[in-house]
């Protein structure tokens, strides 16, 4: 869901489908693992370093990959796919075949209404909600945040207000990448770290963003919950295989009936 937030930011504002996003999640998780686990530094060092690195890569990819393509959607899509193939493949070569694990920051499980939940998962959910709120506040109540929304809603009008869209794009890439890094920290501690870890969450978050409505933070959070619950419910009731079909059938229906997404606005 955290990753979806990053996706919604970029996709909503710039209509850029950034396939590298999943790879940022993965690289950040590896950085955190390397600094925090392998080298034994404390987590409060490892996570900020990963965030800084991800933000840096975000800015670089904006500058050297997406800006030269003028944010043309299909071209960006292909470049992203290419870059993510290359990064993933290089990661296998560099990190080797062994998946790594980031130890849970909150080990153990709690019992919630008869269901056991790992505390780490609750922590991840909590972090996600907090960041969603922070992001919401940022976009609605700060000047750079408002500028970002202005560019999303009407790029030219924003230009006439004296906003420089390019610098807004840089900020958007940076924040989105930083969110990916936090996502990497959470995913890594729940699911382990390996070069493929970013792929599925990215596809999922893309779907979440669509259902939630592009660029809508509340929509993204709600859709994330909705998808998560729907996944678990169908999976639990019908078994993995049938759930796989039903999930996508539901997705098709939702999109056909409400093409703007469940919580989307009219564009």
């Amino acid at each position: 869901m955290l990753i979806a937030l990053g996706v919604t930011l970029l996709f909503g504002i710039m209509r850029v489908v950034n396939f590298v996003h999943g790879e940022l999640v993965m690289l950040s998780a590896f950085v955190i693992w390397y600094i925090g686990v392998d080298q034994g530094w404390p987590m409060w060092v490892a996570i900020p370093v990963a965030i800084a690195m991800a933000a840096g890569i975000g800015v670089l990819s904006q500058k050297y990959l997406f800006k030269p393509l003028q944010y043309e959607m299909l071209n960006c899509f292909i470049v992203g796919i290419g870059a993510s193939f290359a990064i993933r493949s290089a990661s296998w070569a560099i990190f080797g075949p062994e998946p790594q694990a980031i130890p849970a920051m909150l080990p153990g499980v709690v019992k919630l209404g008869g269901v056991f939940m790992a505390k780490q998962r609750l922590l991840a959910a909590g972090v996600c909600v907090v960041l969603a709120i922070v992001l919401y506040l940022f976009l609605h109540f700060t000047k750079p945040g408002k500028a970002m929304r202005a560019v999303e809603q009407d790029r030219e009008a924003a230009l006439l207000m004296g906003i420089n869209p390019e610098s807004v794009y840089v900020t958007a890439f940076m924040i989105s990448a930083a969110l990916a890094a936090v996502g990497g920290a959470m995913l890594g501690s729940v699911f382990g770290v390996d070069p493929e870890m970013g792929a599925e969450p990215l596809l999922k978050s893309f779907i979440i963003v669509q259902i939630g409505g592009m660029g809508s933070i509340a929509g993204t959070v709600l859709a994330g919950l909705f998808i998560g619950v729907a996944d678990s419910v169908t999976g639990t009731l019908l078994g993995g295989e049938l759930a796989f079909i039903i999930d996508f059938a539901i997705l098709m229906l939702i999109l056909i009936v409400r093409p703007k997404g469940l919580f989307g606005y009219d564009v």
Binding site: A147, A150, Q153, D154, A157, L159, L160, G162, I163, N164
Partner: protein, 235 residues
């Protein structure tokens, strides 16, 4: 002269849309640019505010060459463009739209009092201040667009087609608003298809046809001109 545009030209790809247009606006003056659809009026405004690069000619503002500057730098000098089709931020509140108008200003307190002043001048905005701009009626949106433009404390307001698609009653209200802006000492360069209204508002006018200036005079004389009467005033 506040604004001096001298023989500017613009091309989109291979098509030249402006061929050497020149015009001036003095401090506090209201000037109108009339002409048929596609005559190049909007392109002219877009060139002045920096949305379109020039292929020839020069633009000065307040005695300074501005045709190399970014839209942002022109805005800083007091040149504000209220674009065609309102171009509000539809999913921001009325208040936020006003605040965006003052994006470059860092005097938070003055901005706040300016917003209050806008509310006082246009009570409808106050009544709608928490609503999304996209949910306003066409006329309300146009008023918001004016107000947003004024939030930058302009010396010159470029206004593009404010009355398109509005009821006669609304057109009247907008004329009143523009008169009030003019009364505050803000110069206006108004592009309008509704030539009759534009000529009544302005003191001088330019007639643009297929990318070139074909007539320039004070508005009384233009209104009296036979060609203008036949072609644009429909009498």
């Amino acid at each position: 002269m506040l604004l001096e545009v001298s023989s500017i030209a613009i091309s989109y790809g291979t098509a030249q849309v402006l061929h050497g247009v020149s015009l001036t606006v003095a401090d506090g003056e209201t000037v109108t640019l009339i002409g048929a659809n596609g005559a190049g009026k909007t392109s002219c405004l877009r060139a002045i505010s920096g949305l379109e690069p020039l292929t020839a000619g020069a633009i000065s503002f307040d005695g300074e060459r501005i045709d190399g500057l970014t839209p942002r730098q022109r805005l800083e000098r007091g040149l504000v463009h209220v674009p065609e089709g309102k171009r509000l931020f539809p999913r921001m509140t009325v208040r936020d739209n006003l605040a965006m108008g003052a994006f470059l200003r860092s005097d938070a307190n003055a901005v706040r009092s300016d917003i209050e002043a806008m509310y006082a001048r246009f009570p409808i905005l106050k009544a709608r201040h928490g609503q999304a701009a996209g949910s306003l009626s066409g006329g309300e949106q146009q008023i918001l667009a004016f107000a947003r433009g004024l939030m930058a404390r302009p010396k010159l307001l470029l206004i593009d087609e404010p009355t398109v698609g509005l009821s006669p009653l609304m057109v009247k209200e907008l004329s009143a608003a523009m008169r009030a802006i003019h009364a505050d000492g803000v110069a206006i360069l108004l592009v309008e298809q509704n030539a009759a209204m534009a000529l009544r508002l302005a003191t001088r006018g330019y007639l643009l046809e297929t990318g070139a200036c074909v007539a320039e005079d004070n508005t009384k004389a233009l209104m009296a001109n036979d060609y203008v009467r036949k072609a644009y005033l429909g009498v």
